[in-house]
Symmetry: C2
Subunit: 374 residues, 2 copies
């Protein structure tokens, strides 16, 4: 049997659920920290687990180039390689080939690109992407697709989506089913409701263990992202997980959960931790700001993380200004903890039938803090 | 009462002892990790403590510039600022003014230099150095001195040492005694036995809680460093701690312990952890080397550290090659653990009266490994 999804409660469009996998459960709505190159940057795996994260994401593009999928397979798969006991989700490599590699050429067969590591030519196709994800031993693999650029004319978005659908079919055919593993299809279609609906229907015809929404958070803005979600999620099966790729800010997550999304991943909490930004229940704090220089308060008085229990803003600002590694370690840890706190609070609110009130209160608090800081 | 030193055993020139301070004990021979700017780089303080380190070093030069000694004082002192419960030792700032700052000018009064942070002119004198170390709440403070350049003619080394001795007297006068705190004098005199003997005598006339040996590990090489130690330590009081500043490689430490040194500090285990080098009982390993690419062994089969318990060389090499923060975190942790393992083994050997045999075996093992690797 593949991975399974249980829907425990629905509340004003938001869904509370649980995915069971070969490598453990994932309570949804879930945020997946990004472990690009076989590590959630600046975090020990046990500290990632301590935040409450149940699944991490690995990037096929980075790992296929270094240390290579074949090497990771020989070493026992990505989970063993990076000492992560829970499930992992890998992307298909398609998005990062487009955004990171040079001299890429897209054909019906797939993509040819030059490695940013050694300049060699590499072919990536639906079949090869699924093979790599199998070698990585991904608990959840993603279909190989083309991330439609933004903005794109309707005809361009249509052609791109149709290519992704043909690739999705080939991805499904190449995927070797294993107990507790799964393959997700990815809905494309830009910001066009008719294309999103068509894409969702075509994917369900093929059949996947979950459905991702791709091609968003690429510059369209939060309002248009939410609009697109509203015209997409109604076309997805109710009893399977839905994953909004590459999203996002806490307010993006809250709004997407309200529109029926179950899974998220984003580099924001880890990346912003490396640039001196802390996420709190009162919005973001910039530790480079001189206002923190003598401030002996924790980052977030409401936070129960080990960083807030031990350190004050004055010291964290000093570490950040001094570009000390410990500074980015601690900010990353706090940020990941805060994101998991947000997901815990969202799940609790849905379970208690109070999601709308929670979302309204939280949004008002963010707005209030932003006003005070401006 | 100031800090106290108890000499528990002597074995072939090596000494086993214990320093009691206001902030906890230090078993000697001791290695002190360097926490330059208020953090042992890439390490959480609890993980530093877990290696067995009992004291860490802070750098007056860095801290006086940022976040400033006055700010650290307001925030409760360096130990509280950096969440380190044990004792801290601060240097006087003199060495780093000479090696890091620009446009420095040395007079009898002290040193004037330009901050590398904001270009402002700053005066550092024996009185100001001791005041800063007091503001930092240093458990052990160091007399302000001039690190004699190497090589230096006898007359130059003599004049430099004499200046340091006048500054040592002023440092002693400026130091405010507190229970469990102490001030160390620093023997100078380059590689000249007569100057070292004179310096040691002059410092004892002033009277300090411990005696450091400065101006070594500045390019003279291990043989000449050992020779200088042999002509210096016999002139130091037997019942007070001796600290060789800025040293060193494991073989430097072993040789210096054999010559009666009790305390060490060096950036080597932390810095080399950030450049892909791991220290083991078989000598250094360079994780950038392709030989480790499929190696599922731990860094050191004999090591009991959390890194060796969990990770293999293949993964650590991948992290190092990918310049991942986790790589330098884990190598730093292993290296600090290895250094403390070395100190634990040295102390155990002295306590058992087997230091000579231990030193010979360890040295032979290093030589054997170096031969195999070449």
């Amino acid at each position: 049997m593949t991975i399974t999804f249980t829907l425990a409660a629905e509340d004003a469009g938001a869904r509370l659920g649980r995915i069971e996998t070969a490598h453990g459960p994932i309570d949804t709505p879930a945020f997946m920290p990004v472990g690009t190159a076989g590590t959630v940057k600046a975090m020990k795996p046990e500290d990632v687990a301590a935040t409450g994260a149940q699944i991490v994401l690995g990037n096929t593009y980075h790992l296929m180039l270094r240390p290579t999928a074949e090497r990771i397979d020989r070493l026992g798969g990505l989970r063993k390689f990076m000492r992560w006991d829970g499930p992992v989700l890998t992307d298909s490599g398609g998005f990062q080939v487009m955004s990171l590699s040079e001299l890429r050429k897209i054909t019906e067969a797939g993509v040819r690109f030059r490695s940013h590591i050694d300049g060699s030519y590499i072919d990536l196709s639906p079949e090869r992407s699924i093979e790599i994800q199998h070698l990585l031993d991904a608990t959840i693999a993603m279909a190989f697709d083309e991330c439609t650029p933004f903005p794109a004319e309707h005809a361009v978005a249509d052609a791109s989506m149709q290519l992704s659908m043909r690739w999705a079919k080939r991805s499904r055919a190449a995927f070797k089913p294993r107990d507790g593993y799964g393959l997700f299809g990815i809905v494309q279609g830009g910001v066009y409701p008719d294309l999103r609906a068509t894409s969702a229907a075509m994917l369900q015809e093929i059949g996947f263990e979950g459905y991702a929404i791709g091609g968003l958070a690429v510059g369209e803005g939060q309002a248009q992202m939410f609009e697109t979600l509203e015209t997409t999620t109604p076309h997805l099966p109710r009893l399977q997980p839905r994953y909004l790729m590459g999203v996002g800010k806490p307010s993006d997550i809250l709004g997407a959960v309200a529109r029926g999304v179950d899974m998220f991943d984003c580099v924001l909490p880890t990346r912003s931790g490396r640039t001196g930004q802390a996420w709190t229940w009162d919005g973001p704090l910039n530790l480079r700001n001189a206002v923190h220089v003598d401030d002996t308060r924790p980052l977030d008085a409401q936070c129960g993380c080990p960083v807030c229990a031990k350190y004050d803003r004055a010291y964290l600002r000093h570490l950040t200004k001094s570009e000390e590694v410990l500074g980015l370690m601690l900010l990353t840890e706090h940020n990941l903890w805060h994101y998991q706190d947000l997901m815990r609070a969202i799940r609790a609110a849905i379970g208690a039938g109070g999601f709308l009130g929670f979302a309204a209160e939280t949004t008002a608090r963010w707005a209030d803090s932003a006003k005070k800081q401006s």
